[in-house]
Point group: C3
Chain length 155, copies 3
Amino acid sequence: MAELNQLMENEVFMAFASYATIILSKMMFMSTATAFYRLTKKVFANPEDCASFGKGENAKKYMRTDDSVERVRRAHLNDLENIVPFLGIGLLYSLSGPDLSTALLHFRVFVGARVYHTLAYLTPLPQPNRALAFFVGYGVTLSMAYRVLRSKLYL
Amino acid sequence: MAELNQLMENEVFMAFASYATIILSKMMFMSTATAFYRLTKKVFANPEDCASFGKGENAKKYMRTDDSVERVRRAHLNDLENIVPFLGIGLLYSLSGPDLSTALLHFRVFVGARVYHTLAYLTPLPQPNRALAFFVGYGVTLSMAYRVLRSKLYL
Amino acid sequence: MAELNQLMENEVFMAFASYATIILSKMMFMSTATAFYRLTKKVFANPEDCASFGKGENAKKYMRTDDSVERVRRAHLNDLENIVPFLGIGLLYSLSGPDLSTALLHFRVFVGARVYHTLAYLTPLPQPNRALAFFVGYGVTLSMAYRVLRSKLYL
């Protein structure tokens, strides 16, 4: 266990663990938001959902799509598409021995940009708010990828 | 290599490796299920798929959607949305030094809930079977996130 | 830090880090491709995008779907569905102490297959090019999963 403890006593790794857990929890919140809109607006994708949550004679009419629900789902998918590379590349970056302050800057900017992306998507704020939030997070991930490949390339 | 071996001799980490591999293999099975339905029902999303797998003069008519295929795809996307946080948070949780029995409980309940979720989605079972399976898995992941943040927060 | 350095001096782990970073960067490129098609073809999913990027009186008409955009999005989602298991299982596989040459073979074939899959999807090449690329990547991931479970099963 000594080695494991030392891994978790490494400050960069602890910081990565904290920010990764926070941004994943935020992503999970999108599932709850989708469920909330589906139940309050009665908008379902499956007949069995209509039957149980749609109450009423004509429950099948609740099999439909809705703008708010589709908006949350697009925001959720965009999160997945961007947080998966952050997790993979960020983990390897944390193990490549970066400066603590540089690493913290990367993690904080990424988490801030993704939280702002969600706000911009769900409010919605006028463009280019969402586009900028997206590209800031994208740039942070590419910057970590560059560092991993420069310092540890082995093909 | 000594350190690597010790990481893999850590029982919590070995358990995480086993359950993560099992649930990811289950998720990969959804791709095969989609392909199976697409080929047997002749339901394709791309013209080049119709041309090769749809045989016949009027292959373009196979560019369509189908309830069974869409159902598998929704189950697959829900898996992605939930298994990605489990992988990220579960890895960090395994490294944060939890009790073996507590960790095993988390991993087993999560894997069981997600397998049940797939069964409930594909059968389909009446609600709230699927909703309960979803929230059990969700709760397990949040419980691990809480433990990671409580013991190792570094912002 | 000694342990971290030794992790990153392990050749299998360095190879995994390199190939994982490369394939994640390729996946991120799909976001840029989607944005490029959306902007050049003026095909948007949100009213606020039409308002800012669609210029003109009748911007709402740009809320539509388009074959090229949907094709890139399907390729992107297929990447997510396959690269997430590769990341999770590949990380655990790298820690399970495989031969360097066997590990390199797995990583190289997977990355090659996924790059070919993207080319086959976006060109598009006639089937079964894309199907073969998909199943090669799938087989590589299952082969690593088998190795992890055989050597480290702990349930």
